[in-house]
Amino acid sequence: MEWVQQLVNGISLGSIYALIALGYTMVYGIIKLINFAHGDVFMIGAFIGFYAISGWGLGFFPALLLAMVVCAIFGVLIERIAYKRLRNATRIAALITAIGVSLLIEYSVIYFRGAQPEAYPDVLSKSTFNFLGAQISAQSIMILSVSLSLMIILQFIVHKTKIGKAMRAVSHDVEAARLMGINVDNTISATFAIGSALAGAAGVIFGVYYTKIDPLMGVIPGVKAFVAAVLGGIGIIPGAMAGGMVLGVVESIVSALGFSLWRDAAAFVILILILIFRPSGIFGKNTREKV
């Protein structure tokens, strides 16, 4: 069945968007910053995974773990160096800084290794099997299960652990959280660490699944993931997952209908419709401004 196949394609793509969107949504939820550099953390993750696998011969899981750790540290560094000072500045100044950080990361990578793409080596089994007439590769199953497990772990962290509780408290009200004895700085850093680790994981998964990585690879998925985060209701973790999946599936359907060139436009049309008719996203709560 062609449609089952298209659905599978869409969900695989969607799970990558979802992983990146999670980082966006967490950071936005906690400091209300559209972290444009997030897509580039994703790119860094992909390259670390690449060098780990092809350079040092690591397997998929060790490479994934390594990329996550390095990206977590990288994310915290970005936050500490570039964003921390701007916590009380206007949002737009923070946004411009984020754009600056994004360009800096992209072009530093180009400076050090050039702009040419890199091809991920095959690390996962290439066997495919048939499901309701659709060709499903073991890879996609693997990727989907890794993505889902990461999301479940994230839900666990946010809802069951102390740091998760701190994150929720800070995102709700920074001042109140501070008064309650929560170390706000550390909590924000932890948020960046977790969000960036997920982006790093998404990078490795992306590389394995789509093979090609390059220094500017983060730009488009970064914007798409942000769309996904808004779609689901920015700041809401299950929303980012759902938004990512919806976006992936919609893009596949649009392509399948023969409008592939309008695919990106479709993503934005949905975004705008959602924003206009349900401004806080699929899962968002409408909040009223206090007068």
Binding site: A89, A93, E106, D264, A265, F268, L271, I272, L275, E289
Partner: protein, 316 residues
């Protein structure tokens, strides 16, 4: 009257500056490189000032300005290349159509605020770009070849008209209404300001001038392609406005000039160009988050009065 004398004095000085530059161009003292640089600066000033009206004055966080630039660029190019209309007419039509696009984008987006509005405008701009990308009439991805028509004269008067109109608009009851919307939308509404109307006006006026800049842009660079109008272009314009200081007209102009010159200069260091550019951006934002001029105008430095227009786009 005295006040109109002052006005004419300044207008005449500006025209003299124009005439001197024009003379230097015609007498070959200024070669193509510098006249092109001046035209590019002029186009960027128009873009910065038009976005300043939307973000700096009205407080509507739009990051899709390149979409309107694209509309103006393509429509005016169609007018001259396909319909053989005179260039000034084409510029005007391009600007009007861009203003209409501004209305189309503005009206549904007005329900949104802050970051949501920002991302919606980004989405609209991308949609506009993709429409041009898929329209074979304007060459699709390969782009459209255009005869060069933009001259220093057109560019100068483009800036002249834009700055006069936007400055005059700002300093009238309509401009105050827009600033009131920026400062506190609910209070503005409660004071009898039709906030929706003024947001739409600001969008349309901003888009009009972005469209004008588009016409000058497309007729200066021989070819336009949809890839030139992506969100990175919108960010460039946004950066002029923020770096100059939100709410400061002269800040936007100064930032547009500075960054255009810096960017032109950096082409000599192709490997490190973008790295330097991004570092400058980060450092300025870290150490001067309110931009170069803050909310002040350059004229404030010459006056003793403490009055100051403008301000930050505060978190609501």
């Amino acid at each position: 009257m005295k006040k109109s004398k002052v006005f004419w004095l300044y207008a005449i000085i500006a025209l003299i500056v124009y005439a001197i530059v024009q003379f230097m161009i015609t007498s070959d003292q200024l070669d193509m490189y510098y006249s092109n640089l001046l035209i590019t600066i002029a186009i960027n000033i128009i873009l910065a000032v038009s976005l300043h009206l939307v973000i700096g004055i009205t407080g509507q966080f739009s990051i899709g300005h390149a979409g309107f630039l694209a509309v103006g660029a393509y429509i005016s190019a169609i007018c001259t290349m396909h319909f053989d209309l005179p260039f000034p007419v084409a510029l005007f039509i391009g600007a009007v159509v861009a203003a209409l696009a501004g209305l189309v984008v503005g009206i549904p987006s007005l329900r949104l605020k802050g970051d949501y509005l920002a991302i919606a405008t980004l989405g609209f701009a991308e949609i506009i770009r993709i429409i041009f990308l898929n329209t074979d009439y304007v060459g699709g991805a390969a782009g459209m070849q255009i005869t060069q028509m933009t001259t220093w004269t057109y560019a100068f008067f483009g800036v002249f008209i834009t700055v006069i109109i936007i400055a005059n608009f700002t300093k009238s009851r309509h401009g105050r209404a827009c600033i009131a919307v920026r400062e506190d939308e609910i209070a503005a509404d409660a004071m009898g300001i039709n906030t929706t109307y003024y947001k739409v006006v600001a969008f349309a006026l901003g888009s009009f001038f972005a469209g004008l800049a588009g016409g000058l842009f497309s007729h200066n660079f021989y070819i336009i392609q949809p890839s030139q109008f992506g969100f990175l272009k919108s960010f460039d314009i946004l950066i002029y406005v923020v770096l100059g200081g939100l709410g400061s007209l002269s800040g936007a102009i100064i930032a547009a000039i500075l960054l255009t010159v810096v960017s032109m200069y950096l082409t000599e260091f192709p490997e490190t160009r973008m790295i330097i550019y991004s570092l400058v951006l980060i450092i300025v934002m870290l150490y001067r988050p309110s931009g170069l001029m803050g909310t002040k105008e350059i004229t404030d430095y010459f006056k003793l009065g403490k009055r100051s227009k403008g301000g930050n786009l505060d978190d609501q």
